[in-house]
Symmetry: C2
Subunit: 333 residues, 2 copies
């Protein structure tokens, strides 16, 4: 059929975006499987799917942005383990409305993100589908004994937050109400950054647990508390909001702190660190990554009531759990 690009032709076009000359790739694209060479005893494996209408909108993101994001959200998972990115593969569902050139653009975005974090994009499978979905799996090198798990937080540890909160959620909230959005805020939604160097710095400075803030601070802190069998209290005044969030949230009629805690898509890192080392760990993570980092709260012993609390400036305590982004309930409009 005229104009139809078959599977094998498309594979050939996409091959140039896949890594062949990477020092940890023994066999790249073009075989039944790629072969990569891990650097450590452990390989961290994470998978995240990004789907049109849930994680991106075609009117806000170009396909290169979508490709970048599909990789970056996975790299953020590796960052939270203190793993070093090694390789990525993609399973792509492509609707007929996305032409071969657009698939190439998407691959270019994935390759750029892989390059940014030193991983090799080593393979992909593309199938015809009714909607655009990008399933990326990443591999990372990690010493299993030094990986940052969610379960290691201990009462008395401090909460260290690396990066800022609220940019992506604010950008989407403003867009929803028809207000023009500052490009920097929207870029946080389009091209999230994975704090890989920060994750490794936190591990090197004694962090006991970590998670990346993808579902919102409330939901993700709850994950750490439940996994560790602890509670935690966050001071609202100490939370590093992204530049422009306070002003923009005001314009959208939203509370900036609640938006920042519930919004999701921040890809900041939240770690727990023994009290005596918390400020040093924050400084090291900030310096490694060139982003803000702050001590924002304290890990508490298990007890009754919500496991994660937000202490407002007036001393009021809010339940942070339940403030979170759940794809099945709340979608990008």
């Amino acid at each position: 059929m005229g104009g139809v690009v078959g599977e094998f032709e498309l594979i050939a076009r996409l091959a140039r975006y896949l890594a062949t000359r990477h020092d940890r790739v023994a066999l790249g694209v073009g075989d039944d499987a790629a072969i990569v060479l891990p650097r450590e005893a452990g390989v961290a494996v994470a998978v995240d799917v990004v789907v049109e209408g849930v994680h991106f909108r075609r009117d806000l993101s170009r396909l290169a942005d979508v490709g970048w994001k599909a990789v970056a959200v996975n790299m953020s998972d590796l960052a939270a383990m203190a793993a070093r990115p090694l390789a990525a593969v993609v399973g792509l569902c492509r609707p007929a409305s996305v032409g071969p050139e657009e698939v190439e653009e998407l691959y270019r975005g994935m390759r750029d993100a892989c390059d940014r974090w030193g991983a090799a994009l080593v393979g992909g499978d593309t199938v015809a589908a009714t909607a655009l979905a990008v399933s990326v799996t990443v591999l990372g090198d990690v010493d299993p004994a030094r990986a940052l798990r969610r379960s290691g937080a201990r009462p008395g540890d401090r909460l260290v937050l690396v990066g800022t909160l609220g940019a992506a959620a604010t950008a989407l909230a403003l867009t929803d109400v028809g207000v023009e959005v500052d490009a920097t805020l929207l870029e946080a939604h389009r091209r999230p950054r994975a704090l890989v160097a920060a994750g490794r710095a936190l591990a090197a400075h004694g962090a006991t647990a970590a998670i990346d803030i993808s579902d919102g601070l409330g939901a993700d802190l709850e994950h750490v508390c439940v996994a560790s069998g602890v509670r935690a209290r966050v001071r609202a005044a100490d939370l590093p909001l992204a530049p422009g969030v306070v002003e923009a949230a005001g314009a959208a009629g939203a509370d900036p702190v609640l938006l920042a805690c519930a919004g999701g898509e921040d890809f900041a890192l939240l770690a727990t660190v023994p009290a005596e080392g918390a400020r040093d760990a924050a400084a090291a993570a900030s310096s490694a990554e060139g982003v803000p980092a702050a001590v924002v709260g304290t890990v508490l012993p298990a007890g009754p009531g919500p496991v994660a609390l937000l202490e407002l400036d007036n001393g009021e305590m809010l339940d942070l759990t339940g403030l979170g982004y759940d794809h099945y309930r709340r979608r990008i409009r």
Copy 2:
């Protein structure tokens, strides 16, 4: 909303299908990433997406079959590398019509297939989508120096085929024309078998190259020939057709050999082996797996004309290339 299962609830329900106690899993489900412990210097990585309407039909396959198949087609890629299955993760696009119980059934099929080949199902991401698509990534242990690549075939090598051809394609062809299909034939489509033990036996017996027959013998042999810079000739009389294919193809008005060469979804292994060891390699692979194996042709030096030829019983030569399954052109109806 009543009846809606949120992301976190669904994750909790699915967690029981994920491996936690596997001797190569240092960290299972419930963190930002899983951590697995490779056994060799190399990790083979493959990804395949199976999509409703392309790789399965809901009227022919239960969701447990779909889950099995999504894993098995990837295990077949590992088999063709002579890799040993280690772990699998899944990115799942779930339409609203597929309820939580059905997702569990799909996970059960994936877990059963992982168990069958000794891999650990260590993670998954499920997103809301308009159509069902299952993107599975598998990892396998492999010594890079001993992996079977597509590029190693040499003139004079013999072609060894392990497994049988035509079952899945025949089952679908019959279904298309409304003929009731034998359960064994249909099972090849529903629950393909990955010849992992055969792949390792072939490598141990000196195989120079291998591929799994997923796109059809013609297309896949062409891949080996192009990667190796050789041509090849297959004798039709030597091809091991699946039981029932000749009779069933006749009923559908199709040529059984052409159906077997073009049909795809066989997940047989095609290897090249130096002539002197070919029969032993075939016997070892057959014995390791409990399936037929045969020497079916010869690798030829590069030259003009089609790279892959099919020699019929009457001496006629057909061009085997182009006989193949291309998802963008030919779909399951």
